[in-house]
Amino acid sequence: MLSWLESIGKAIRDGVEWAGAMATMFLQAVGSGFRRPLGIYDIFYQIVALGVRSLPLATLMGVFVGMALTWQFGEALMSFGAKNAVGSAAALALVRELVPTIMALTVGAKIATGMTAELGSMKVSEQIDAIASLGADPVKKLIWPRLAAATVALPLLCVYGNVLALGGGAVIADKVFDVPAGYFYETYVDELYPMDYISGLVKATTFGMLVGIIGCFQGFQTKFGTEAVGIATTNTVVATSVSILVADFILTMIFLPVG
C-alpha cells in the first residue's frame, strides 16, 4: 500500500518538476528572444523548416478530417431529413475544435519529435555544449527560433487546414448528399462568428507554443547515448499529445461561455 502511494507521489513530483523545469526554459527562451540580435533569419528559417515541410501532412489532415466529419454529420442529419444543415453542423466542430486539435496532434507531434530528435542528437554529440563554449547562448540559438517558429507556424497551418477541411466537406456534401457545394459553403460560413475563428486560432497558437517548448525541452534533457534520443522522442509524443488534449479542454472551457 505504502509503495503504491509512494509511486503515485513520485510520479506527481516528477510531473511537477518536469513542468517546472519546462516553464523555466520557456521563460528563458522568451527572455532571450528580446535580446539583440533578434535572430529573425533563424526564426524564418525554422518557419520554413517546420511549417512548409509540414504542408503535405497538413493537406491530408485538412482534407480528410473535413470529408470524414461532413460524412458523419450528413448521415446523422439525413435521418432527420435535415441534410441541408450539414454545413452549419460541420462548421463549428471543424473550426473551433477538430482542425486545431487534430492539426496539433498530427503535424504538431511531428514538429515536436523532429525538434527532440535534432536537439537530442546535438546534445549527445556535445554540439550544444560546443555552442555554449564558443560564447553563444544555446537557448537563444536553438530554442527561441524553434519556439517562435512553432508558435507562428501552427496557427498558419490551422488556417490552411480550415480552408481544406471546408473544401473536403463541400465535396462530400455535394457528391454524397446532393447538397450543392455553394450552399454548403454559405451555410458553413454563416454559422461562424469571429469568436469561433479567434477561439480556433488561440488554440492553435497555444498548441504551437506547447509543441515548440516540449520538443526543445525534451531534446535538451536527452541523456547520453543514441538510445536516449529514441526514448526522448517517444516521451515527446506522449507529452505533446497529453498537453494538447489538456490545453484543449481548458481553452474550450474558457471560450465556450464567451463564444
Binding site: S125, E126, Q127, A130, I131, A132, S133, L134, G135, A136
Partner: protein, 253 residues
C-alpha cells in the same frame, strides 16, 4: 608563474555519484597540463567545470582569480572568449559547413567582415594542417574523416585566438598517424600561439610528449601531479599500473 585556473576544495556530484570531493588543482599560464585517469572518473567534467558548462556544489573554480560559478551571462561569454574547448568527437555543427564551423566564434565575438573571417579561417585551417582547399571548407562535417573533423574542431577553437585551449581526449578514435599529427599540433599551437593547454587524454605517449605537467585523477582528487618524467618513473603503484596499462584494482589477479 601566473595561475590561470585554480580549483579549490571542489565538490561535484551527479545525483548520488560523487565525481570530485575536496579536489584541488592549479594550472599555470603557458603550460601544457595533462589530466589522465580511468574512464568515467570525471576528467572531462573537470574541463566543463572550468568553462562553466557544469555547475558545482561546493568549493571554487577560479579563472584568473574570478569565481566561474558566480559569473553572469556576459562574464561567462567573456571567459569563453579567452578559453576555448576541443570536444571529444569534435562536436562540429552538422548543419554548418567547415567554414561556418571555423568562423562561428568570430561571428559571435567580433564584428569581422566575411572576407576577414574567410582569411582567418584560412590561417587556422593552415595551422592545423588542412590548408585552404575550397572543396574542404564548403564540405559538411558528415563528409569529413575522423582526423579531419578533429583538426577542423581544433581550427574552430583557435579562430578566436584564445589564451587557454581545453582538449577533451583529442586523439580518441584516431589511427596512429593521426594521433601523432594531433600531438604535434598541440605542441605547435602551444609554441606558436603561446596558449595554455589543458589536455584530457588516455594516450600516454601523447601525454608524455606534449605535457609540462601531468595530473592523475584518483579517488575523486588529483593526488599525483608531476612532470612527465616523474609520472613515468613514479614509485606509486597506482600511477605505475595506470601508465603501464594495468588496472590498479586488478593487481591481485
Amino acid at each position: 608563474m601566473t595561475v590561470v585556473f585554480e580549483l579549490k576544495n571542489l565538490n561535484k556530484r551527479f545525483g548520488d555519484n560523487v565525481i570530485y570531493e575536496d579536489m584541488n588543482l592549479e594550472i599555470e599560464e603557458g603550460e601544457t597540463f595533462t589530466i589522465i585517469g580511468g574512464s568515467g572518473m570525471g576528467k572531462s567534467v573537470c574541463l566543463k567545470l572550468m568553462i562553466g558548462l557544469l555547475p558545482y556544489e561546493g568549493g571554487h573554480v577560479l579563472f584568473k582569480g574570478k569565481e566561474v560559478g558566480d559569473m553572469n551571462r556576459d562574464e561567462l561569454r567573456e571567459l569563453r572568449r579567452h578559453v576555448s574547448m576541443v570536444f571529444q568527437a569534435g562536436a562540429l555543427f552538422d548543419s554548418m559547413s567547415v567554414l561556418e564551423n571555423v568562423t562561428y566564434a568570430l561571428r559571435e565575438h567580433t564584428k569581422m567582415s566575411d572576407p576577414e573571417m574567410l582569411e582567418r579561417a584560412k590561417e587556422c585551417l593552415d595551422m592545423v594542417g588542412l590548408g585552404y582547399d575550397p572543396d574542404i571548407i564548403n564540405r559538411m562535417p558528415a563528409g569529413l574523416s575522423g582526423g579531419m573533423r578533429k583538426r577542423v574542431a581544433l581550427a574552430r577553437s583557435i579562430a578566436i585566438k584564445p589564451e587557454v585551449i581545453l582538449y577533451d581526449e583529442p586523439t580518441t578514435g584516431l589511427d596512429p598517424a593521426n594521433i601523432n599529427r594531433i600531438g604535434k599540433m598541440i605542441m605547435k599551437l602551444q609554441k606558436e600561439l603561446k596558449v595554455t593547454s589543458i589536455v584530457v587524454t588516455h594516450d600516454m605517449p601523447i601525454a608524455f610528449e606534449c605535457s609540462d605537467r601531468i595530473a592523475m585523477l584518483s579517488n575523486k582528487k588529483f593526488p599525483y601531479i608531476g612532470t612527465p618524467k616523474e609520472i613515468q618513473h613514479s614509485e606509486v603503484e597506482e600511477v605505475r599500473d595506470f601508465v603501464q596499462g594495468r588496472y590498479y584494482e586488478d593487481k591481485d589477479d
